[in-house]
């Protein structure tokens, strides 16, 4: 298995960008399905990371859709629990959960709450309290390293989470423990609950470099560039990896992209047909 994994990492299949783009469109369609009729939801963030999730699930992660608990799987940690809308979308697209179930997103009794619980197949962490993801990803990667297990841990965090001190505690320890199988993907979409990201977080990439990460910065809504970023950080060189992704909230639906206050999108019931049509036109 080690040989197989090494081969996969060193010489990945050439990216089929068309196929990944189709997956990203489907993920966005699923997101609209989840939000439709609810009037509200974390739609914009979900649309923003749809391209990353397409690249992760259909190119990078070594998983088994028929066996979510496969112990040798790569681990994907979604630290931003409110991105659950996108997580369920990709889990449905991947085959972990039924597509039909997406209609229950955020509803009473649903197992798809607006913040992630780990009882959903394919979800590795209870999300919602920010600043938790990277530390747990460090623990996963550290355990894998201690056991000589050849798997990768990919952690998604947001630019807002750079305000949480625990994120930097985890970053320091990742470099200390030489966790070169750990990849942190930072979704810089520029928004947080009260509006634009408030603290002085730039230069984000330089911060990760300073903390000992092999770092690249990329347009997070450009699938070919995302693929190139993962390829650039494939080497096992003792350094943890960081991909700083610039994403557009609401990406794929121009009306939502244009919204200034996109953290928690509220939409009139009759507007979803128009938004869906915009999404299809963007393909």
């Amino acid at each position: 298995m080690a040989t197989e994994m090494a081969a996969r990492r060193n010489a990945p299949e050439p990216a089929d960008v068309t196929e990944l783009s189709r997956r990203a469109l489907n993920i966005r369609r699923h997101i609209v399905t989840e939000a439709r009729g609810k009037g509200q939801g974390y739609v914009a963030q979900g649309l923003g990371v749809a391209d990353l999730l397409a690249v992760l699930y259909f190119r990078e992660l070594r998983l088994d859709p028929d066996n979510a608990d496969w112990t040798a799987r790569d681990r994907f940690v979604l630290s931003t629990g409110h991105y659950s809308i996108a997580m369920y979308a990709v889990l449905a697209e991947y085959g972990y959960i039924p597509v039909d179930e997406l209609n229950t997103y955020g509803m009473a009794g649903s197992r798809l709450p607006m913040s992630t619980f780990d009882d959903v197949p394919g979800i590795e962490m209870v999300g919602g309290s920010l600043g938790h993801g990277l530390g747990q990803g460090v623990g996963m990667a550290l355990a894998a390293k201690l056991d000589g297990r050849d798997l990768r841990v990919i952690v998604e965090i947001s630019d807002g989470e750079l305000q949480e001190g625990s994120t930097w505690e985890a970053a320091m320890s990742a470099a200390t423990f030489n966790l070169d199988q750990l990849v942190v993907a930072i979704d810089c979409n520029g928004i947080q609950a009260d509006g634009p990201v408030t603290t002085r977080i730039e230069p984000v990439a330089d911060k990760w470099r300073a903390f000992g990460f092999d770092t690249v910065e990329v347009d997070g809504n450009d699938i070919s560039k995302l693929c190139a970023a993962f390829d650039a950080l494939r080497e096992f060189n003792g350094l943890p990896k960081a991909i700083v992704m610039r994403t557009v909230p609401g990406k794929g639906i121009p009306t939502l992209e244009a919204r200034e206050r996109a953290h928690f999108v509220r939409t009139e019931a009759g507007e979803w047909d128009k938004l869906s049509a915009e999404l299809e036109r963007s393909w």
Binding site: D118, G135, V138, M140, A143
Partner: protein
């Protein structure tokens, strides 16, 4: 990772008069880890002061120091637990319960992850004041759902607890006793069992309900009380959660008056649990409560602080003999 080698007594507060064992936590964990390869030991720059060094010496490949980063300590442990490890984590209780509470609750307990938290210097056990005295930890931790809480009384029980928690499902919070720890119980007869209170002393006049290191003090002072003609029974409640409410209520029913003794603030700990257990069964009776007041304590020598804050022998004896 460079660190000082373990020497017995390091991190110790004060030598005990009776028999004691040095660093029972660290030695018991090292022994257990010989048998259980899934055990890892983590600390946040407090291996020396939490007795983790005997483990680190014997299992350096499974010893992890994350630095002064308590939130990360708990998060990393949670991540390791998700990868089939059983992490034992140590630092001072104040830093765990006040600073890393969200991570204990959400990253660990919410998913019933097997993270075993050994929380050091609980209650009035050092002279460093409110920044280092974890006097309200039981009240805080009792509020965390799905968390098991244990407050062992001596080296014998602590060793048993170290072993037992590996097989207790989910997240466990243990009030650790470091340094030269008194040996009070007979290892051949005492058996720690989760959720079960233990009779440590038979008596007819007054019932003492105690937990943690206060159970040792209760044993000690009960002898002095007996010399004054007051025969006290002692029920040691090592498991704070789940609480053995029936045993406590039954025990209290057999005595005209009750003394609760705990190294913790008055509210939210053992005393609160005893009152809930009694009132819940319609039982009301005189109850003396030896506990700390709801305040931050000053720095100073241990005996000075114990006298000032009501943990000295005289105060304990008054509670038992006079019921106040």
């Amino acid at each position: 990772m460079s660190r000082p080698a373990f020497t017995p007594g390091m991190g110790e507060i004060a030598a005990q008069a009776g028999p004691y064992e040095a660093a029972p936590f660290g030695h018991a964990l090292a022994d257990l880890a010989d048998e259980r390869p899934e055990i890892v030991g983590l600390t946040a720059d407090m291996a020396k002061y939490t007795d983790l060094l005997p483990f680190a010496d014997r299992h350096p490949d499974r010893y992890i120091n994350v630095g002064m980063a308590e939130q990360n300590l708990v998060a990393v442990a949670a991540g390791m637990a998700r990868m089939d490890k059983i992490p034992y984590i140590t630092t001072y209780g104040v830093f765990l319960t006040r600073r890393a509470l969200d991570f204990i609750a959400i990253a660990c307990a919410h998913s019933n992850l097997p993270v075993k938290i050994f929380s050091n210097m609980p209650g009035l056990v050092n002279g460093l004041g409110g920044t280092h005295q974890s006097t309200e930890d039981l009240a805080i931790m009792r509020s965390v759902p799905d968390l098991t809480i244990i407050d062992p009384c001596d080296a014998v029980e602590l060793r048993q607890v170290v072993r037992a928690v590996a097989d207790i499902p989910g997240t466990v919070y243990v009030r650790n006793i470091r340094g030269n720890v008194p040996v009070l119980l007979d290892p051949d007869t005492h058996r720690f069992e989760l959720g079960t209170a233990r009779h440590l002393r038979e008596g007819a006049d007054v019932g003492i309900v105690s937990t943690g290191t206060m159970s040792g003090r209760a044993l000690d002072v009960a002898e002095e009380a007996a010399a004054k003609g007051v025969d006290a029974a002692i029920l040691h409640v090592a498991t704070i959660k789940p609480f053995d409410a029936k045993a406590v209520a039954d025990f209290c029913a057999s005595f005209p008056r009750i003394v609760v003794m705990e190294n913790h603030i008055r509210s939210g700990g053992l005393g609160t649990l005893v009152i809930e257990a009694l009132y819940g069964r319609g039982a009301v009776k005189p109850l003396a409560h030896v506990a700390l007041e709801d305040r931050f304590h000053e720095c100073g020598p241990q005996d000075y602080l114990e006298t000032k804050y009501g943990f000295d022998r005289q105060r304990l004896l008054e509670a038992i003999v006079e019921g106040r």
